[in-house]
Subunit: 231 residues, 2 copies
C-alpha cells in the first residue's frame, strides 16, 4: 500500500506546490481544505480543481466558521491592506492575520492523519517573501510537531512517527513557482488574492498579489491569472 499523507490545501499557489511535493515524496495525498468563512471564496473552487488535477486520493472540505471567533480582514469587515511593497509587507503582522489559523488547520489535519493511520502532514507555509504571520515560521512548525507527538495516540505509542512537512518554508516565492512548475503544478488553478472580484479576478494590489507578482517576475515566468490592476 502507498504511504499516505494529509496535505492542507487552501487553493493558493503554495499549498498546490506542497501537494505536488507530497506526491514527489511518494505519498498518496489526502487533501484537506478548510472552509473557514474566508471572503475569497474562489480559493475553495481552486482547491477542488487542484485536488482533482493532481489526483488526490481524497479531498475533504471541512467547515469551521472562524467568523464567530475572529477579527481579520480575511473573514470580517476589516479592510485588506493594499498597495504595499514586498519590503513593507515583511514588517509586522498585518490585518489579514487570522488568529491561530494554521494551528487550527494543522490540528484538524493531525486528527485526520491519525484516523488514517499516518503521522505525515504537509503544509505549504513559507517564511521568506511572506506576510509576516507568526504561524508560518520554522520555530512554530517545530513546536507544533513536538506538541503533536505528545497529543496523539500514535505519537505516544510510537508506532507512527508524527512529522509536519513544510517543504517550502525556506524558499523564496520565485523558487516555489519554479519548483511547482518542475512538478507539473498548473498555477492557473490557484488563487492568491485576498480580495478578488466576485468572478475571481485578482485585485493585484493586496499583499498576497504583490508577493505573487514579484515571485513570478523573479522566476522569469508568466502568471496565468487575470488581474484587475498591477502595482
Amino acid at each position: 500500500m502507498d504511504k499516505i499523507a494529509v496535505v492542507l490545501l487552501s487553493g493558493g499557489a503554495d499549498s498546490a506546490t506542497a501537494l505536488a511535493c507530497a506526491k514527489r515524496d511518494g505519498f498518496a495525498p489526502y487533501a484537506l481544505t478548510i472552509d473557514y468563512g474566508q471572503r475569497h471564496r474562489v480559493e475553495l473552487e481552486m482547491a477542488r480543481r487542484q485536488a482533482q488535477a493532481q489526483k488526490a486520493a481524497r479531498h475533504l472540505i471541512m467547515k469551521i466558521d472562524l467568523r464567530g471567533i475572529g477579527k481579520s480582514a480575511l473573514t470580517d469587515d476589516v479592510p485588506v491592506p493594499v498597495g504595499r511593497t514586498p519590503d513593507e509587507i515583511s514588517e509586522g503582522i498585518p490585518a489579514t492575520y487570522v488568529p491561530a489559523r494554521n494551528t487550527i488547520f494543522l490540528s484538524v489535519a493531525l486528527g485526520w492523519a491519525e484516523s488514517l493511520g499516518t503521522g505525515d502532514v504537509y503544509v505549504g507555509v513559507n517564511a521568506l517573501d511572506y506576510s509576516g504571520y507568526p504561524d508560518c515560521r520554522p520555530e512554530y512548525i517545530e513546536a507544533f510537531e513536538k506538541m503533536a507527538r505528545l497529543a496523539t495516540k500514535m505519537g505516544v505509542e510510537g508506532r507512527v512517527q508524527v512529522k509536519i512537512h513544510a517543504p517550502l518554508i525556506s524558499r523564496k516565492k520565485s523558487e516555489i513557482f519554479l519548483l511547482g512548475r518542475e512538478l507539473g503544478v498548473d498555477f492557473s488553478m490557484t488563487s492568491s488574492c485576498y480580495d478578488p472580484s466576485p468572478d475571481g479576478v485578482a485585485c493585484g494590489v493586496c499583499d498576497s498579489c504583490a508577493l505573487r507578482l514579484k515571485g513570478f517576475a523573479e522566476a522569469g515566468l508568466t502568471d496565468p491569472l487575470r488581474y484587475a490592476k498591477k502595482i
Copy 2:
C-alpha cells in the same frame, strides 16, 4: 474592565469545575463549547445550562464536525467499552479517544482568546483518575502552551502572555468534586456518560461513569444524576 479568559466547556463535570476556577481566579469567563458530532448530545444541553448558571460573559457553541475525520466510539459506530474498573481504565488508550480532539479544541479557544485580546485559556483536563488520553497530560499542556506562544500575534509581540490553565490536571476525581462543590458548581447540570439514553440517563457502566461514580463515592458526596445501572 475585568480580566477575560476563554474556558472550554464540554458539559462534563470537569469543565464545569474549570469554569468555576476561572471565576475564582478573577476572570470573566467566555465559555466555548464544540459541537463535534458527539453521540452524547445531552452534553451540549448541560453546557448551555452550566454557562447560564455560572453567568458566563458569553457562551459560544461552535460546530466542527469531527465525524468526517475520526474513528472514535464517541462520534462513530464503534462500541463504547463498558464494565471496566478504574484500574483497567487507566491502562492504555481506549476506543473513546478522539484523534487530536483537545488540540483542535484548544486551538479554537486560542484563536478566540486572541480575538478577545486575552491569552488566558482554561481547560478541565486531568491526568489522574482519567481515561488514559494522551492529550490530558501535563507534558502535553506545556508543549501546547509553548507552541501557542510562537503561533500567535499576541505571543510573538509579547503584549499578552499566553497561558493554558489546567487547574484540575493533578487532582483526583474526588478532589475535583469537592473543589467544585466548594465553588458552588451544580453537578446536576453536568453529564459525564459516553453513552446516555436518549432522555439523558447515564449508563453507569462506561469508563466515564465508572470514574465519576468512584469519585463521588471517595468524596463522600451523592451524585445527583440518574443512572440506568451502577457497576
